[in-house]
Each structure stands twice: as C-alpha cells, then as structure tokens.
C-alpha cells in the first residue's frame, strides 16, 4: 500500500511540477532546445547545447535577460532521430509564450521541419548544416542557414588551397581527393568541387566512405594510387579519427589534409593521437579557453555553479564555442526584433524572424559582445539568409587548434549564390512557391 501511495504522490507531484513549469514561462522568451546527449552524436550535441545554454544563462545572469526579458528554455532529447525530433518540436513549439526559434542541429531533423516551420511561422536557424539552398530567403522565408553553408565552405576550401599553392592558376593539373561520408551531407559539395575543377583545371576525385567509416583501407589504397596533392576530408565522427590514422599508416602527410568544420573538433583529433598533428580544418568559430567571451562566461556562469558542461575542461572547446555562437545569434535576433517591436517585450516568432532578417553583427557589434574574431561578421537580409560565408582555417598542433588564416577566408559568393538560386528556384517550381518580393519588404 505504501508503494502505491508513494506512486500517487509522485504522479501528483509530477503534474504539479508540469503546471508550475509552464507558469514560470509566462513573460519569458521561450527557446526550445532539440538537444541530443546520448548516442553516436553525443559529443557534438552536449558541447553545442552546453554552450548554447551557457550563453543564455550568461545573458540572464549578467544583463537580466534581453532588455530585461529573461530567456527560458526546455531541452528535449531527440537522439538525433528524425521522428523524435519532430515530436520534440511539436511538443515545445507552443510552450510558454511560444517558441522563439528552433535550432535542431541535425540535417535530418532540419529537413523534416522545413514544411512545419513554414506552416507554424517559426524561424529555424541552421548554422553550418542543413539545406544549403535555403539560403535563398525568397523561397525559404523561415529557414536561416546562418553564417555559412556547405557550398560556401567547399568554395572557401578551394580558395584556401589556392592561397597555399600561391594562386588559383597554380591549381592547374593538381589532383585533389574529396573523401566523403557516404550520405546527403557528404555528397552536398560534389557539384561545387566539379564546377571548380572545370574552371581551374584541377582533377577532383570523390571517394565515398560508407557509414560509419571505421574501415577505410581500400579508400586510402585508392588515394595512394592517385597520389593527390590534397585530400579534403568531408567526414563525421569516428570516420575522421580513422581517416587520420589510416593516412598516417599510408604515409600521406596530414599537412595536405583539409577537413570540414564537422571534422575539426578536439573530439575528432585527440583520439587519433599524434596522427592528427598538422591536420587543418575549416571553422566558422574560433576555439580556445582564453577567448574573452569564454573567460567571461566562465566567471559569470561557472563561477556561480550554473555551468551546463559537466566536464569543465571542455569549456572553450570548438563545440562549446559553437554553442556560444548559436546563443549569440538567438539573443541578438531577439534584441534586434525588440528594437522595432518594443524593448523589454516578449517577441513572437514572426517578430524574431524580422530580427534575423535584419540582423547585422558587424565588427563593432561583435566587439561589444566580447566576441570579436570569435565568429565572422554576419549580416542577413530578406534574400540572403546565409549572411556571411566566411571561415577560418585551423591546424592541430598536437595540443590545441591554432588558427592559420588570421583573416576570414571568403568563398566565391557570386558563383555560390547563383548555384543556390538555381537550386532554390527548382524547389520553388516543384512546390509551386511564389517568390517573395524582397524589394517590397522593409
């Protein structure tokens, strides 16, 4: 009997807790977090969502919220699974004052939500992943692949290689291998690479590694036969570590390996030991525990014991800082929206979308946020939902990531934009979407 009583008490308490939680969310800006902390992607999920929460805590604790409006959030575990992600989205979108914006941090979930966010009028921000052609805001008014997309990254990589070789004309006759994770993610840049190969006269070979990529002997045998000048590693998770190790075993210099930003975290290179020394990757956020913002977050949030990262040594890692960047874009979009629709008020999702489209994080603003140099300047508009495209390149020196390009490397915006518009136009035709007229919107 006592057991049953306990259970009843527990359930009653649970119901009580639920109501008290939603009551607490009134008057606060609610941000749903479709996080994942279990499974194969847990390293990225815990780091990025940890940083995201840390930044929102930081704003709440340091400034008392965005112009006094406190940020509230709730996590929902998606396990990186599409249907769980959709369930979490549906569960959280009406919570509190309604979802401000959603950042699913998974390309699969992003695709599953594209139609839904348009119907619900909630902006979806996908920083460095997701659907590339959603950068065309005329076709995808509710999706923001902010900062940079895979196509821009591919272009920036070629530019970086050209710079290392001493000019784009020097790439003629060179051989580049694109070693990719055999999925939509890995295949995404192939078109861009082929376009460049045609233009600059180098030879590109795309070699697929089946998921999860823990066996790459035959791929590297092929690479040995090709004897490429560079290998572009478009991998994920364990595939990156194995690629580095196999490259070492096959005597391919890691200095000639360029990784994508999902192949450039501490979690990718440390397990490979000294095989990762000299390996370079693209990043759209700089890492380091000594960054001013990281230091301040450590002082304000971790000093009070409110930090979200269980392993404090990961504070300031690539993923954690990426989470801070997610937080900055969320908070700044809300702040921008408040400028137009009323300071100190809770913004609706539609107002936040206006904030995103008019977001302008220039160098001065980033400096004010203590984030100068940590992320590229970002300026989005009605038509351009990417807003930057700039990346830096970092090299692993055995202990930490060292930035090797002090200035941001820009992609060939004109070429990428043309490709994006072509692809988005095809989508619009298939779905019978009439393009927004960006000239008419303020």
């Amino acid at each position: 009997m006592s057991h049953r009583n306990k259970l009843v008490a527990w359930l009653a308490g649970a119901a009580l807790g639920l109501t008290s939680l939603s009551a607490a969310a009134q008057g606060e800006q609610f941000v749903p977090l479709l996080s994942y902390r279990v499974g194969a992607y847990a390293a990225g999920g815990s780091g990025i969502f940890g940083g995201y929460i840390d930044y929102m805590n930081y704003i709440n604790m340091k400034e008392g919220g965005v112009n006094g409006v406190k940020l509230a959030w709730e996590e929902c575990e998606t396990e990186y699974n599409n249907s769980r992600g959709v369930e979490c989205y549906e569960r959280l979108k009406k919570k509190g004052t309604g979802a401000t914006m959603v950042q699913p941090l998974s390309t699969g979930i992003t695709y599953s939500l594209i139609d839904r966010v348009a119907a619900d009028k909630i902006p979806m921000v996908t920083i460095g992943y997701g659907r590339t052609d959603a950068a065309d805001g005329r076709v995808f008014p509710w999706v923001f692949p902010a900062i940079t997309t895979y196509w821009s990254q591919a272009s920036a990589m070629i530019k970086y290689i050209a710079k290392r070789e001493g000019g784009e004309d020097k790439l003629k006759g060179k051989k580049i291998v694109h070693l990719y994770h055999d999925s939509a993610y890995g295949k995404e840049p192939i078109g861009v690479f082929q376009e460049y190969a045609k233009r600059l006269g180098f030879e590109i070979t795309s070699i697929a590694v089946p998921h999860p990529g823990n066996e790459q002997q035959s791929q590297w045998l092929q690479i040995r036969q090709i004897r490429p000048d560079y290998v572009i590693l478009w991998g994920w998770g364990v595939m990156n570590t194995v690629a580095l190790k196999t490259a070492q075993r096959n005597g391919f210099p890691r200095e000639k390996m360029i990784g994508v930003w999902w192949a450039g975290s501490e979690e990718d290179v440390i397990p490979a030991g000294d095989a990762s020394k000299g390996y370079t990757t693209a990043v759209f956020n700089v890492a380091g525990a000594n960054l001013p913002l990281v230091q301040d977050v450590k002082k304000v949030v971790y000093g009070k014991g409110k930090g979200n990262m269980e392993d404090v040594s990961r504070v300031g890692s690539v993923y954690h800082v990426r989470g801070l960047v997610h937080g900055i874009i969320t908070v700044e979009a809300i702040r921008k929206a408040q400028e137009k629709y009323g300071k100190g008020k809770v913004m609706t999702a539609e107002q936040v979308r206006w904030g995103l489209e008019n977001l302008n994080l220039d160098e001065a603003r980033l400096k004010a946020l203590n984030a100068s140099g940590m992320m590229p300047p970002l300026k989005m508009s009605c038509a351009d939902h990417e807003g930057s495209g700039l990346v830096k390149f970092q090299t692993w020196d055995g202990n930490q990531w060292k930035i090797v390009t002090p200035d941001w490397v820009a992609p060939d915006k004109q070429m990428i934009r043309a490709m994006i518009e072509e692809s988005a136009g095809k989508y619009a035709k298939e779905k019978n979407i009439t393009l927004r007229d960006c000239g008419k919107e303020s």
């Binding site: 308490g13 649970a14 639920l18 902390r37 569960r91 699969g108 999925s183």
Partner: protein
Amino acid sequence: MLYREAGQFKTSYATDQQIFPIRQDRIGVTALALFAFVVVPLIGNQYWFSAILIPFLIFALAALGLNILTGYAGQLSLGTAAFMAVGAFAAYNFVLRVPGMPVLVAFVLAGGCAALVGVVFGLPSLRIKGFYLAVATLAAQFFVVWALVKFPWFSNYSSSGVITAQKVTILGFDFDTPVSKYLLTLSIVALMALAAKNMVRSAIGRAWMAVRDMDVAAEVIGFRLMRTKLTAFAVSSFYCGVAGALYAYAYLGTVEPEAFTLDMSFRILFMVIIGGIGSILGSFLGAAFIVLLPIFLNIFVHAANGVLQSLFSLSLPASITSNLELMVFGGLIIFFLIVEPHGLARLWQIGKEKLRLWPFPH
C-alpha cells in the same frame, strides 16, 4: 461476468467465421473505431496528431507488414526500412513524373514497387532460412539506400538527395491539416489491417503458416513453397511500401534515404517481437510500445525533474535524464520479454481468458 459468450449461438457458417466471434469484441472494436474516427479528431490537438498518432499508425502499418512476413510466413527480414524507402521514393516519383497522378493511386503503385523489390530480395529465401535469410535481407537494406543515394534520378537531382513530398489532394480536397492527415492515415491503416486480418484467415494465410511451421511438411502436402514465400514477401513489402509513402506524405513531408536506416528496420522488428509474433493486434501494441513509450518516459522524466527542482531546488543534469530514459526503456523491454516472451498480444489474450472467468474463477 460482462465478458462471457454464454448464450451466443452460431447458427450459420457466416457467423461462425466472422472476425470477432464474440459479441463483446464486436462492440469493443466498433466503439474503438468510432472513437478513433470521430472522437479523436474532435478532441485531439495538433501535437497529438502530428507527433504521436500519425507516426504510431504508420509504424503500426510497417510492423503489420513485417509481421505478415516474419510472424505468419516465418521468414526473418531486416530490410523493412528499405522497403519503406522504396515506397516513399516511388510515390514521390510517380506523382512527380506522371501528370495528374492521383495520390492514392501513387500510394498503391508505390506499394507495388516495394512488393517487386521485396520479391527480388525474397528469392534467396527459397534456398536459405533463419539467420542466413536475415543476412540476405540485410543486403536489401544496404542496397536500396545505396541506390537511392547513388542515382540522383530517384530524388529528381536534388543536390543532397532529399525529396519533398508533394501536396496530398484527393478529389479536390487538400489534406494539409494535421487532422486530415491523421484521418487519411487512419483510413488507410484500418483498411489494410482489415485486409491483413482476412488474408491470414484465408487459404493464403494458412499456406504461410504451414510454411512457417515446417516448410518440408508444407511442401509434401501440396503447398508450393516458391509461390507461398514470394507472396509473403510481396504482401509484406507492399504494406511496408505504403507505410513508407505515408511516412513521407502524411508524416515528415521531407525525407532523405538516410532516414531509412538499419536502425529503423531493427525498431520495426522489435515492435513485432514485443507486440507479438503472428498477431495483427500485436503489431499495433508493439508500435505503441516502441514509438510512444520513449516519448512518455521523456515527458515523465522532465516532469519528475521539474518536481525535484521545485521541491528541493536540485535538478538532474540533462545528460543523466537523457540516459535515464534509455535505461528505463531498455529495462522495460527486458522485463516484458521475460514476463511474456510471446509479446503484448499474448498478454492481452491471457487477460481476456481471465476476464471470461471473472469474477468466479474455478
């Protein structure tokens, strides 16, 4: 007392052979159908339709398809998700490439495509069985996903290999709200479940079960093994194909080949095992267990965490709550398999037997 068939006499062959021979069952099922078709659309909200009920119905349909193959015909398959992928991409291409193609016809044709693929990958079942067959169907899983990624024609040359389902319009009515999508899914699933129930009661179902119980004996008494096994593969894949098409059109709207992973095949196999092998009801119970329980656990853990926070102002870190949910889920699976190895459907059956005697057991 309430659940007793005393006094219900069968006076014709038709009454003897009906699906639910007991009157109370008929009333119960009719009430359930009325509830699902009439009451739920009135009381449900968007969250329930698009995040809980639609995926539950779709996975129940896929589990039903696998149950026909594994539960009734005894052929182990790990290619369920692949057949669903065939259905989803086939429906997309039919609607895209054939002008004026009605969506329902496209669903049927998509099921047909999946059935064809299923038959091709079912061919090895004529020579191999059990785990070896599972490995052969595993090939289907990898081959289909590979082919959908490899040949951009399937995804209409989309750069990332992702398809976006077109609008569902039937006889001029747009199925674009969660309620209408729910009703569409429910109608299709109910119809196909009824068809499955009748199939397994007919000659073809008995042939499947004969092959399942002992294929040599079945052959000796005159069942044609090849035809029986391949029809099982075809029908099963048809169900999975329609489920895949619904997954794309009624549920997610946008799907990539990678969504149909081996993981999904395993989940559907678990639904069949936990729900009850060789039971139509079991497919629904198993789908409910695997699809819905993690969600309820998640909500419960969140709520419990909220209580902890409000009462003792301490809360568990998110990583622990996330893992806790997986541990409880895993523990429950093992618990149910130990308590009732024949699945939830068998549990239901035992419950019914007990109800017949209640309240006066012998």
